[in-house]
């Protein structure tokens, strides 16, 4: 645990300074994600309950959704998870350059997802006339996917911050846990999207 230990001895899955051997930041992130599950669980439940009681005269989801576009952005988001995993792997090996490229790609894919969402929202509001106020579908859809979009945005800002921070020279293999916990967050946001994509979009096409 002294600072001059050779780099090769760092075990990224064991931290000798804690009671369990698991790094503090990892437990913090897992516990936070458990909490975040409940946040999304409540929002998704709200949507699933309300989709059973559409008031007469409001738009049906299939009249609004564009499943091709959303499938594309879902795929992109999943690929960003792959790049995130590569970034964590790179920093754990101390390969800063590889980590930077992986992070940059992750950010790029995250931005494509956000761009698709902005396009989708504008399209729904201005072309399909589904707004947050004019129907219960609009209220639950925009609130749920908007909350998820906000999570992606926070993730992109975090990733960008970490990328910039890596140029200060203070990000080394020793701080791999900082990238890893960010990765846990990013993967979680992706997994939530898989649930949302299934429960909000695909469910309407069964």
């Amino acid at each position: 645990m002294s600072s001059d230990a050779p780099a090769a001895t760092i075990d990224h899955h064991f931290d000798p300074t804690t009671s369990t051997g698991i790094p503090n930041k990892k437990i913090l992130m897992w516990a936070f994600l458990a909490s975040d599950c409940m946040f999304f669980g409540c929002l998704i439940s709200t949507h699933l309950i309300y989709r059973l009681h559409p008031p007469p005269g409001t738009l049906a989801p299939r009249q609004v959704f564009s499943i091709e576009l959303t499938s594309f952005s879902t795929f992109i988001l999943l690929m960003s998870s792959l790049m995130m995993a590569l970034a964590v792997n790179a920093i754990q090996k101390g390969n800063l350059k590889s980590m930077r490229w992986s992070l940059l790609t992750t950010i790029f894919f995250g931005c494509i997802f956000l761009g698709c969402q902005v396009y989708e929202f504008r399209n729904f509001v201005f072309e399909k006339h589904l707004t947050i106020t004019n129907s219960i579908l609009g209220s639950t859809f925009f609130t749920l996917t908007g909350t998820h979009g906000l999570h992606v945005l926070v993730g992109v800002i975090w990733l960008t911050g970490m990328l910039l921070y890596s140029f200060t020279g203070r990000l080394t293999e020793r701080q791999a846990i900082d990238v890893e916990s960010m990765g846990l967050y990013w993967h979680f946001v992706d997994i939530v999207w898989i649930v949302i994509f299934t429960a909000v979009y695909l469910l309407e096409y069964i």
């Binding site: 300074t17 009671s19 913090l28 516990a31 975040d36 409940m38 946040f39 669980g41 309300y50 947050i132």
Partner: protein, 663 residues
């Protein structure tokens, strides 16, 4: 030995020499030292002071309610003022009194019980406190504004809270304040979870954790899993109020019952968030003053876990009158009755602890025994509501009011008052006078029963909750008068209690280490507890760690010497740097919350575009928060080292905590 130094404090070699820091506050005294503190003991103290302050606020609201109800057809308060009083009394007592005083003990006592030098994330801990304070301010801001205080009940049922029925900012502030209190609670709970799992001293296995620490862990899990439900409900309501969504708008397909479900999915675990810390405190006090180990320790721990687990499956018993259907009602009734089992198990374990013990009737013990008895009464009336047909009669009546005051005052508050008396010598090194302590106990005990016992009868005779007055011919006059007189006796008791502890804080008799001859690790420390907590991180050999240490002093002394030497070899005792950024982030949240909830929607004639005062203030607050969080992460979580003299004082230059001291 590796486990005694925290990973975040590992010297970072050459990197530490050029830190990316704008400003390191070093003040150890004065206002700045409190704003920048990351010391779990100071943060605990801040929580405690805030909780006691709001106890006075909530108490005054309660007294005003009781004055209004003392006689029939009273006009002391108007109906509108009365609604504000009971709404804010409930909100204050639950979120701003019992929870923060509980958090005060989590902060102060829990790290000491597991042999840690601080919580896992000291700055996050400071952020939790400041955000709690911001939430408390926002919720109470209405008193000083034209909008008035929130007045829709502490449960905030829709559609009463929608813009149609309550257009003023009062509800906006309530909604925003509770969201912030949720953020603060979740952040604090995450911290406690990591601390308990990861910062235990060597030898402190999970099944050696003091029961109070176990209850802190369960409470923290309940907080992180239940607060999201109310936060989402509040966000949906806020969206309805700010942006005109339809979550609770019946005419567009919204279902107000959704609010009740989301609220009680939070609300029932919240009940256990309020009582589990109390049970933990009682499980520390009874063994100490019975001079016996806790009876059936694993059973007490597991029953705490099952209470927490079952607590998520009973929320609909708050909604039996809403027409759930027979099957759902029966299922929730059975689950609710099931919770009585682990609770009863705990009661029997406490009685088993007392059985055959050498009871020492000091003030904390008096409050603890009062808890046992009063909490049982609250539990009995609780099982009565579990039977759905009986609940249909009792719902919304004073019987319910009597029930939950028996569990919240007779349960939670008695235990918190016991805990303050119990840990006071450790916190401040002074002893509370037995005479005045017991005097306050008897006043509180008599006043409490006089106030709330008659409410059982009032409720069964049909007196409804939340109604500002009643006619003289209903047969409720005597009960209400007794109750109001009792409320003033209770207030006198709390007054004596508070005056006594404030006096003791300044003038009380000094006390020695471990004045109660207690059993858990926190009592091994000198009092008041030094900044660094443990001179050397202890090794724990038994469940009642300190009790073992007292009986094996030679072995412990040798070990402590070895630990201290090992730590010296690592550079000394690691201390976290203070930081202003958690406080600044909370200031940003305050500004943003004022923008969202308090500033009026601008006149479109004056501000035709996107920008207006509301948007500007909100975004300014968000910007302050964002910048603070960025600086917070850039300053890093390094610490400095201190070395101790033989008497436990910090050596010379180390006390200033300069960077050079450690690196």
């Amino acid at each position: 030995m590796e486990a005694i130094a925290k990973s975040d404090f590992v010297p970072k070699g050459e990197q530490a020499a050029k830190p990316l820091v704008l400003w390191r506050p070093m003040a150890k005294a004065g206002v700045l030292s409190w704003l920048t503190t990351v010391d779990h003991k100071r943060i605990g103290f801040l929580y405690g002071i805030s909780g006691l302050f709001f106890l006075l606020v909530g108490g005054v609201e309660a007294l005003l309610i009781r004055v209004q109800l003392a006689v029939p057809n009273n006009t002391f308060l108007t109906s509108a003022q009365y609604s504000e009083m009971f709404t804010m009394h409930g909100t204050t007592m639950i979120f701003l009194v019992v929870m923060p005083i509980g958090a005060a003990f989590f902060n102060f006592v829990m790290p000491l019980q597991i042999g840690a030098r601080d919580v896992a994330f000291p700055r996050l801990n400071a952020f939790s406190f400041w955000t709690f304070l911001v939430g408390a301010i926002i919720v109470n801001l209405g008193w000083f504004m034209k909008a008035g205080a929130p007045d829709a009940g502490w449960v905030g049922y829709t559609p009463l809270t929608t813009r149609t029925f309550t257009p003023t900012h009062a509800i906006d502030m309530w909604v925003m304040g509770l969201q912030l209190l949720g953020v603060a609670s979740i952040a604090a709970a995450l911290n406690f979870i990591v601390t308990i799992i990861n910062l235990r001293a060597p030898g402190m296995t999970m099944m050696r954790l003091p029961v109070f620490t176990w209850m802190t862990l369960f409470t923290s899990f309940l907080i992180i899993l239940s607060f999201p439900a109310i936060t989402i409900a509040l966000i949906e309501l806020m969206m309805d109020r700010l942006f005109g969504t339809n979550f609770f708008e019946v005419s567009n397909g919204g279902l107000p019952i959704l609010w009740q479900h989301l609220f009680w999915i939070f609300g029932h675990p919240e009940v256990y968030i309020l009582i589990l810390p109390a049970m933990g405190i009682i499980s520390e006090i009874l063994p100490t003053f019975s001079r016996k180990p806790l009876f059936g320790y694993p059973i007490v721990v597991f029953s705490g876990a099952s209470i927490g687990l079952l607590g998520f499956g009973v929320w609909s018993h708050h909604m039996f009158t809403s027409g759930l259907g027979t099957v759902a009602t029966a299922a929730f009734a059975l689950m609710t009755m099931a919770i009585a089992v682990p609770t009863g198990v705990k009661i029997f374990n406490w009685i088993g602890t007392l059985w055959g013990g050498h009871l020492s009737m000091r003030t904390p013990m008096m409050f603890a025994l009062g808890f046992l008895w009063m909490f049982m009464i609250g539990g009995f009336s609780g099982v009565m509501h579990a039977a759905a047909p009986a609940d249909l009669q009792q719902h919304g009546s004073y019987f319910i009011v009597a029930h939950f005051h028996y569990v919240l005052i007779g349960g939670s508050l008695f235990a918190l008052l016991a805990g303050i008396q119990y840990w006071f010598p450790l916190m401040f090194g002074r002893r509370v006078s037995e005479f005045w302590g017991k005097m306050s106990f008897w006043l509180v005990f008599i006043g409490f029963n006089a106030t709330f016992f008659p409410m059982h009868f009032l409720g069964l005779e049909g007196m409804p909750r939340r109604t500002y007055t009643y006619d003289g011919n209903m047969g409720w006059n005597l009960g209400n008068l007794i109750s109001s007189v009792g409320a003033f006796i209770l207030a006198a008791g709390v007054g004596v209690y508070l005056v006594t502890i404030v006096y003791t804080y300044f003038r009380g008799a000094r006390t020695t280490r471990d004045p109660w001859d207690a059993r858990t690790l926190e009592w091994s420390l000198q009092n008041p507890v030094p900044e660094y907590n443990f001179r050397a991180i202890p090794t724990v050999h038994a469940r009642d760690g300190w009790w073992y240490e007292k009986r094996h002093s030679a072995e412990i002394e040798r070990e402590a010497g070895e630990h201290a030497k090992a730590e010296d070899a690592h550079g000394g005792i690691h201390m976290p740097f203070q930081s202003i950024y958690p406080f600044l982030a909370s200031v940003g949240i305050l500004v943003g919350a004022i923008g969202t909830a308090v500033v009026d929607r601008a006149d479109p004639a004056l501000y035709p575009g996107f920008w207006g005062p509301k948007i500007a203030v909100t975004l300014a607050g968000g910007a302050i928060m964002f910048v603070s969080v960025v600086l917070w992460s850039l300053e890093g979580c390094e610490g400095y080292h201190i070395h101790l003299n033989d008497d436990g004082s910090v050596k010379g230059d180390d006390a200033r905590g300069g960077y050079a001291a450690g690196h």
